[in-house]
């Protein structure tokens, strides 16, 4: 938990840089090419693409889950696993 807001409502340059570098490190193919600061616009574009690709993955996974669930047997061992997860 690295929130270091100085005072309520004030955001310093340092905090903006921190946010931006966090976004940078979050993206899957972030390469440090010499300078550690990427162009902000490029970062925003890659962030957009990243989030869009995550949306597509969720959509694809929903497809597969829908397929799997249509053939699910209620008394199978899988149901046991699911129930044990719920109990923890």
């Amino acid at each position: 938990m690295s929130s270091r807001r100085s005072s309520r409502g004030a955001i310093s340059d340092e905090e903006i840089n921190e946010l931006i570098s966090k976004l940078q490190s979050l993206l899957p193919n972030s390469r440090r090419r010499g300078s550690s600061q990427a162009s902000t616009t490029k970062l925003l574009k890659e962030t957009c693409n990243y989030i869009k690709s995550l949306h597509r993955e969720v959509d694809d996974l929903s497809d597969r889950l829908s397929d799997l669930m249509s053939t699910m047997d209620h008394n199978s061992p899988g149901a046991e696993i699911v129930r044990s997860i719920l109990r923890s």
Binding site: S3, L19, T41, I51, E57, L65, G78, I85
Partner: protein, 200 residues
């Protein structure tokens, strides 16, 4: 921004959220899927898929809590969709009406804008000294990028740029956790199906 503490709170270990967050996600997802009756044989493919997506979004928003704006906005979207699919008319009002940006926030947004403009282009050291068409073009590009981001992040339209950045970060981390949890669920069900087939 008092909410910033909550907004950055999901980043535990590694990319894709903390283990505790993912466990809560998985639990919420399974509960939500059972509530949605997705294992019933009478459901059509499309209906089941929509129910799964809704359960996944609801699980994400409820596991994340009400701290970030995107989470509240997503939860409201899920409720609105449920009402739509069940046919009941219900006007769900905007839940993320951010207050108009205070003067301080306007200054901060300009800081972000200036930061992108100040960066010298490689190979051209004099750009930062000139104020010309290049600077204006970059400002327009920034605006275009942030507007795309506002469409993608739930509830982003009501936010100013600096809040949007923090929300985007939190949303991306949480989305990744949702993807991981759904992948795990797919593997569990696949293995379960394989075991069931072997027994026959």
């Amino acid at each position: 921004m008092a909410s910033a503490r909550g907004v950055l709170g999901v980043q535990g270990g590694g990319g894709g959220g903390s283990g505790r967050f993912k466990r809560a996600l998985l639990r919420n997802l399974i509960i939500g899927l059972r509530k949605g009756g997705v294992a019933s044989r009478e459901m059509g493919f499309r209906e089941r898929k929509d129910a799964i997506k809704r359960a996944a979004d609801a699980a994400l928003a409820s596991a994340r809590g009400a701290a970030p704006c995107w989470s509240r906005s997503l939860a409201a979207d899920v409720v609105a969709q449920q009402h739509r699919s069940s046919g009941t008319a219900n006007s769900s009002g905007e839940c993320c009406k951010a207050p108009p940006p205070s003067p301080r926030k306007m200054i901060v947004c300009k800081k972000i804008l200036r930061r992108s403009l100040r960066r010298p282009r490689p190979g051209n050291a004099t750009t930062s000294k000139k104020y010309g068409a290049g600077v204006v073009a970059r400002a327009m590009l920034m605006r275009k990028r942030t507007s795309v981001l506002k469409e993608i992040v739930p509830g982003g339209k009501a936010l100013d740029v600096c809040t949007l950045m923090a929300e985007t970060l939190d949303y991306a981390v949480s989305l990744k956790a949702q993807v991981d949890v759904m992948q795990l669920l797919v593997r569990i069900l696949q293995e379960q199906n394989a075991i069931a087939l072997e027994k026959q």
